[in-house]
């Protein structure tokens, strides 16, 4: 599958590493070159320096042939804009935006955009772990740790912190 990821912070780089290992053709876009240091050393996909809400940059990233796009920058608004461009203008089938403000996440979900709020997801996981909910807490935690293990073998500590 051709996949475009906007934003190479910790989440974007982690997901890029997983999808690359799964054998997908991944292109990750970020404004800052240092952001690509978050990627695991094993990463064999493409990186593109530029603004992920710019039509020309998205075309260069191969959005016209992409089956999925993830908008994972630090800015909710940029993620909402990038995701809507992918969905409405380029007709990308699977589009998911990280929107940390739960209110905005819900509003855009009601408009048909798939939005994930880290606030809600992480809060729900922590709650599930506390009450020892086996379906949510245990399963997700086990899967997360397995992914961490898979990527951590070669992951260097990034020089600069980011999101």
């Amino acid at each position: 599958m051709n996949i475009v990821i906007i934003g190479c912070g910790r989440v974007g780089a982690f997901l890029a590493g997983l999808l690359d290992e799964d054998g997908h053709a991944v292109t990750v876009v970020d404004l800052e070159r240092v952001a690509f240091e978050h990627l695991p050393q094993s990463y064999k996909g493409n990186t593109l320096l530029g603004n992920g809400t710019d039509l020309d940059i998205l075309r260069q990233a191969g959005i016209e042939n992409a089956e999925a796009l993830f908008a994972l920058t630090q800015g909710d608004n940029r993620n909402l804009m990038g995701a809507q461009i992918a969905k409405e203008i380029f007709g990308v089938r699977r589009v998911i935006a990280k929107v940390n403000d739960p209110i905005r996440a819900r509003l855009y979900r009601s408009k048909g955009l798939t939005t994930i709020s880290r606030t809600t997801i992480l809060g729900t996981l922590l709650h599930a772990m506390l009450v020892e909910d086996p379906v949510v807490g245990k399963t997700l935690m086990e899967k997360s740790l397995a992914h961490e293990e898979r990527l951590s073998v070669e992951t260097p500590t990034p020089a600069k912190a980011g999101g």
């Binding site: 809400t53 710019d54 039509l55 020309d56 800015g75 909710d76 608004n77 940029r78 909402l80 804009m81 990038g82 809507q84 461009i85 409405e88 203008i89 403000d101 209110i103 905005r104 509003l107 408009k111």
Partner: protein
């Protein structure tokens, strides 16, 4: 409601107040908001305009227009979409900093955009000695715009009749011809001369084709 109290937002707010409008400026930087408060009075709220709650508190639902003028296109888009879909604002207008985003905003439901780059291009091209071509305005609620062009000597249009330009193939139409200050009715067989100014209605997407038909 003016979203963003930077240079554009501040001066726009001031001009709107002078014209007798009721204005509320949303600015998230506390110091900048304080400055606006000192200059213009109680017409500013320290809040981020891209949050639905802030918009409602600022009276977005009662506003005749919501104008997003921050320097961040993604923020302006979200402000306008929230105002339109969440607050049901009557009219939303967005400043776009990257002129390519005019098309993006239209595709995502925000029809009224102002691009400072395009306005400046218009001014510059208006100043050129011959062959001026400048977009006058987008037509609200459509994908059409109004263009004025001056027919230059030795261009494909000079000496041709209106009907021979083939503009209808792009869905464009010459609405009038201004010759030496007089308006002429534009028929298919109206001949064009160098120095004529033509007023063209065109789909925004066909602007480049219209320019090519007139100037080669």
């Amino acid at each position: 409601m003016v979203a963003g109290g930077g240079e554009v937002g501040f001066h726009l707010g001031q001009a709107l107040l002078e014209a007798g409008h009721e204005v509320m400026i949303l600015e998230n930087d506390r110091r900048r908001a304080q400055f606006i408060h000192e200059q213009l009075g109680s017409v500013v709220m320290t809040a981020s305009a891209d949050e639905g709650r802030a918009q409602i508190e600022a009276g977005c639902q009662r506003a005749d227009a919501v104008i997003a003028v921050t320097g961040d296109d993604a923020k302006n888009l979200v402000i306008c979409q929230l105002a339109k879909d969440h607050c049901h604002a009557q009219r939303v207008i967005a400043r776009v900093n990257n002129p390519k985003n005019e098309i993006v905003f239209k595709a995502l439901g925000i029809d009224e955009t102002i691009s400072s780059t395009r306005v400046l291009m218009g001014v510059i091209e208006q100043e050129l000695p011959t062959g001026g071509f400048f977009p006058l305005m987008p037509l609200t609620g459509s994908h059409l715009e109004l263009i004025e062009a001056e027919i230059a000597p030795n261009t494909p249009a000079a000496g041709k009749k209106v009907g021979e330009l083939g503009l209808s193939a792009y869905g464009a139409l010459i609405g009038g011809v201004v010759r030496r200050g007089e308006i002429l009715h534009a028929h298919g067989d109206t001949p064009l001369q160098a120095g004529d100014r033509v007023i063209v209605f065109t789909p925004t997407a066909a602007e480049a084709d219209v320019r090519r038909s007139l100037f080669g």
